[in-house]
């Protein structure tokens, strides 16, 4: 029987990549300390700054919000209702329940009132649904944080998310994307600071924290994520991790340490202001305004 390295009680958890046995109480402490260390390592934010946490109702965002509050940070939540039927209804309820339980502020935004729901937008965009959804979410998260006066936008991206993206970008040596893959993107013209405090926390560690801390999160997957390439990449990396624990952490951490410094000259690439809404954009018209244009021309035809 493995024993907790901190207190000697029966260990419930063994972290293969860290070779660490912990009881539930000391696991929660370990997790919170690791997030705190990551925040400090990358100078993400201070206790004096207002943080907006992007909340989906899932394990990562709710574990992040819970941890930030426990660590004494000023963190409010922001939920975007994507209009994905029953899935959005359930996830919104989970986010609301969490905010109520801990008496926290949760801002919500209804995408169907701002532009259109994700299922409706799908008809106007040829990208995979997850890419479309991601770009629309990033637009509104940044815009909302700016409008409400938050200095920092925190997302629940974890080590598995980051290593899967790194893997995908390395497969095609997508230098522009690799250049932006850092756990802190500083505030810039039109952008609030974006941070990923769970970047060194694996997906399983995040779920363990949620379960052990008694967080009620949505376990079912978004119906549009089925077959997403990101999941496939995660499964490939998981096979490597099974054979050689610590591979994902090494892959990501060593990228940040060795390769990123060579790429970082221009973290956000060459951006301009969207001609219509003024938000940062690669093209003269941003993704969201382009979608809005397609929607309005479609309505005119009807």
């Amino acid at each position: 029987m493995r024993k907790c390295v901190r207190c000697g009680k029966k260990a419930q958890i063994y972290l293969y990549s860290h070779r660490l046995s912990l009881c539930s109480e000391h696991y929660l402490e370990w997790f919170e300390n690791r997030v705190e260390r990551t925040i400090k390592e990358f100078n993400m934010f201070t206790k004096e700054e207002k943080i907006l946490v992007a909340v989906s109702g899932g394990k990562d965002s709710l574990s992040l919000w819970h941890t930030l509050i426990k660590l004494g940070y000023q963190a409010d939540g922001f939920y975007i209702n994507l209009g994905i039927g029953d899935y959005s209804q359930k996830s919104l309820q989970k986010a609301k329940n969490f905010a109520d339980k801990y008496q926290l502020t949760l801002h919500t935004l209804d995408l169907s009132k701002e532009i259109a729901s994700i299922p409706d937008l799908k008809a106007y965009d040829s990208r995979p649904t997850c890419s479309l959804c991601g770009s629309v979410k990033r637009y509104y998260m940044n815009k909302y944080a700016k409008e409400k006066g938050y200095a920092v936008l925190a997302t629940g991206h974890n080590l598995d998310d980051e290593s899967a993206v790194l893997f995908a970008n390395a497969l095609s040596w997508n230098v522009e994307y690799l250049r932006r893959q850092y756990p802190v993107l500083p505030e810039d013209d039109g952008f609030v600071r974006k941070v990923k405090p769970l970047c060194k926390i694996s997906e399983k560690e995040s779920a363990l924290y949620a379960v052990l801390a008694g967080i009620d999160y949505i376990e079912e997957e978004c119906p549009f994520s089925e077959g997403a390439t990101s999941i496939e990449y995660k499964l490939y990396l998981s096979q490597l991790e099974d054979k050689s624990p610590g591979t994902k952490l090494r892959f990501y951490s060593e990228f940040l340490r060795k390769l990123y410094p060579l790429l970082k000259e221009s973290p956000r690439g060459n951006l301009q202001k969207c001609e219509v809404c003024g938000e940062p954009s690669i093209n003269s018209l941003c993704n969201v305004c382009r979608l809005k244009l397609k929607l309005s021309s479609h309505k005119e035809k009807i």
Partner: protein
């Protein structure tokens, strides 16, 4: 041995070979890796070596999620 498990909100029954079942057998039966999944027995997270009995309340958590990165 028949074991009832809750997996992603759904109850299902697993038929496992042998007299003694461990948490890792449940993960294997669901084709899940210990790298991203774990077993909760009677509201306690347990190691892969934990013995499971038919009367135990078992929940399996698959941490992997996808979509927007």
């Amino acid at each position: 041995m028949e074991i009832k498990v809750i997996y992603r909100g759904q109850e299902m029954t697993l038929h496992l070979e042998g007299e003694k079942v461990k948490a890792k057998d449940i993960l294997k039966a669901l084709n899940l890796s210990k790298d991203y999944a774990f077993v909760v027995k009677n509201d306690q997270v347990v190691s892969e070596e934990e013995t499971i009995n038919p009367g135990d309340h078992i929940r399996v958590v698959n941490a992997i999620s996808g979509g927007t990165l």
